[in-house]
């Protein structure tokens, strides 16, 4: 892996030049929150943000997208207008890149989703390191550092950003801006290690995920799930803000006259009452407790069995978004506590 350093003073020029790789989108402040948005000027970017309300998955799996349009007699025509759009996502945190790597397993694994795959190909990722706040637990979820899934990754080492080049396109970006970068010295590497240590020590929230799938397996009937069902509003906020929730619903939007229409997919949530309704009207998860339990089991148990790790990246968005204060780390602690008490 190529490693360079970029003087912080050159960042605006770097961002100007990388526009040749696509529209630059970065976190900007909006009503006291951060959102990924297209930059009209560099000063709009806020690279020292905590977390964006919606993760960058919105670029790869839009909240609503038309898959194809159809007309009687003409067959159907795939909608591909926006999937070739070249973008540069500037300032993506490690946990969110990890989230995209998890979505890759789902959408580019056994069954390839061409819409997702095309966007992943056309969107460049420039990552940036961050400092954890009171809701971050990405270190516990092993997502505080990524070694792939980005084109470039910047780490603040004082007056410079230490820059990891992750892909050939990242290398092209660095080559297009060669005069802005400098070679790395041993001193820079020491600063990087120092910065990494500071980050590690700054985590306030920690959860133990070792043997968690097994504990989930044992605690399927635990009363914790009923208590959560009492509190949960089934609003789906946690799913909407989650970087790895990928459930969607597909429906047809038929034009008047029923001769043409479009097939649309929208984000869905397993917390919605209708999520598990099947033909004939049967609903496998009628009550809220069953739905929230399903969400936890999918993230922390089922995904581990399928892909070898939980699908949670510890970004803390579900904690900040929940209107009734359900906190995943506390739920896990509660389960562990019950398990420990039962074992005692």
């Amino acid at each position: 892996m190529k490693i360079l350093k970029l003087p912080k003073g050159n960042l605006d020029f770097f961002a100007s030049v990388v526009q040749q790789f696509g529209e630059v989108h970065a976190p900007v402040e909006q009503n006291g929150h951060f959102v990924f948005k297209r930059l009209a000027r560099w000063s709009e970017a806020r690279l020292n943000y905590d977390r964006t309300t919606i993760p960058p998955k919105k670029y790869f799996l839009p909240p609503r997208e038309t898959l194809f349009r159809y007309r009687a007699g003409d067959g159907y025509k795939a909608c591909s207008e926006a999937i070739d759009r070249r973008l540069v996502l500037f300032g993506v945190h490690a946990c969110d890149i990890y989230g995209l790597n998890i979505l890759d397993k789902v959408f580019t694994g056994r069954y390839v989703d061409p819409y997702y795959q095309s966007r992943r190909r056309n969107i460049s990722i420039i990552g940036i390191d961050c400092s954890p706040d009171q809701h971050c637990f990405c270190r516990s979820m092993r997502a505080d550092f990524v070694d792939h899934g980005f084109d470039l990754f910047f780490t603040d080492i004082g007056d410079y950003y230490l820059t990891l080049v992750g892909t050939a396109r990242g290398d092209d970006m660095a080559l297009a801006t060669t005069s802005l970068f400098e070679p790395v010295t041993q001193e820079d590497i020491d600063r990087y290690k120092q910065s990494s240590l500071h980050k590690r020590q700054a985590f306030k929230l920690e959860v133990e995920i070792r043997d968690l799938p097994e504990i989930f397996e044992m605690e399927y009937q635990n009363e914790v799930w009923d208590e959560l069902g009492e509190r949960c509003l089934s609003c789906g906020s946690c799913s909407m803000v989650c970087p790895t929730c990928y459930c969607y619903d597909v429906s047809d939007s038929v034009e008047l006259g029923s001769r043409s229409g479009s097939r649309v997919r929208n984000w869905d949530s397993c917390l919605f009452r209708t999520h598990a309704v099947v033909a004939g009207g049967e609903n496998f998860r009628k009550n809220r407790a069953a739905r929230i339990k399903h969400r936890y089991y999918h993230k922390q148990r089922g995904f581990v069995a399928e892909y070898g790790r939980p699908s949670c990246v510890g970004c803390g968005r579900c904690i900040t978004a929940c209107p009734v204060g359900i906190n995943i780390t506390q739920v896990i602690e509660q389960l562990r506590g019950v398990q420990n008490a039962q074992n005692a």
Binding site: D12, F13, S16, V17, Q19, L39, R41, W42, A176, S179
Partner: protein, 142 residues
């Protein structure tokens, strides 16, 4: 015949006035803007025949983002863009390739501008100003 319209975006008001006067004396109609946001707004409203864009305005990379914005707007993407900047003199080691590869401009000029050459390039891209009063033009670099 209506005069060809040029939009000039530059925060240096004296420079804008001087160049505009020269271009107006050569038969062009010049619309003035003093930052990128105003320039983009006028570009969309007026649909000029050519845009002259400064780079370092309120922000030192403002013009870079404005040029990209122009290139992304389907109704504006074909309008020739001349970049006129003192960037080279301010940051000698930062290069913009004259062929417009990444910046997507059509012509690149460093200040001070040699007006006859500038006018020649404008004529090459959009033709003469309607009144064609080139005989009045001054030649001193601005």
């Amino acid at each position: 015949m209506a005069a060809r319209m040029i939009l000039m975006v530059d925060d240096d008001r004296d420079f804008v006035e001087a160049v505009s006067s020269y271009l107006e004396s050569n038969g062009y109609r010049v619309v003035r803007a003093h930052d990128a946001a105003e320039g983009l707004k006028l570009a969309k409203m007026e649909r000029p025949d050519l845009i002259i864009m400064d780079i370092m305005m309120k922000e030192r990379t403002e013009g870079f983002f404005a040029v990209q914005e122009l290139r992304r707007a389907p109704e504006l993407e074909m309008i020739p863009v001349f970049v006129v900047t003192s960037l080279y003199t301010a940051l000698g080691d930062f290069k913009v390739q004259p062929d417009g590869s990444w910046l997507a401009h059509d012509e690149f000029f460093t200040k001070p501008v040699r007006l006859p050459l500038f006018l020649e390039k404008i004529r090459k891209h959009i033709g003469d100003g309607a009144a064609n009063q080139s005989a009045n033009a001054g030649t001193r670099p601005l």
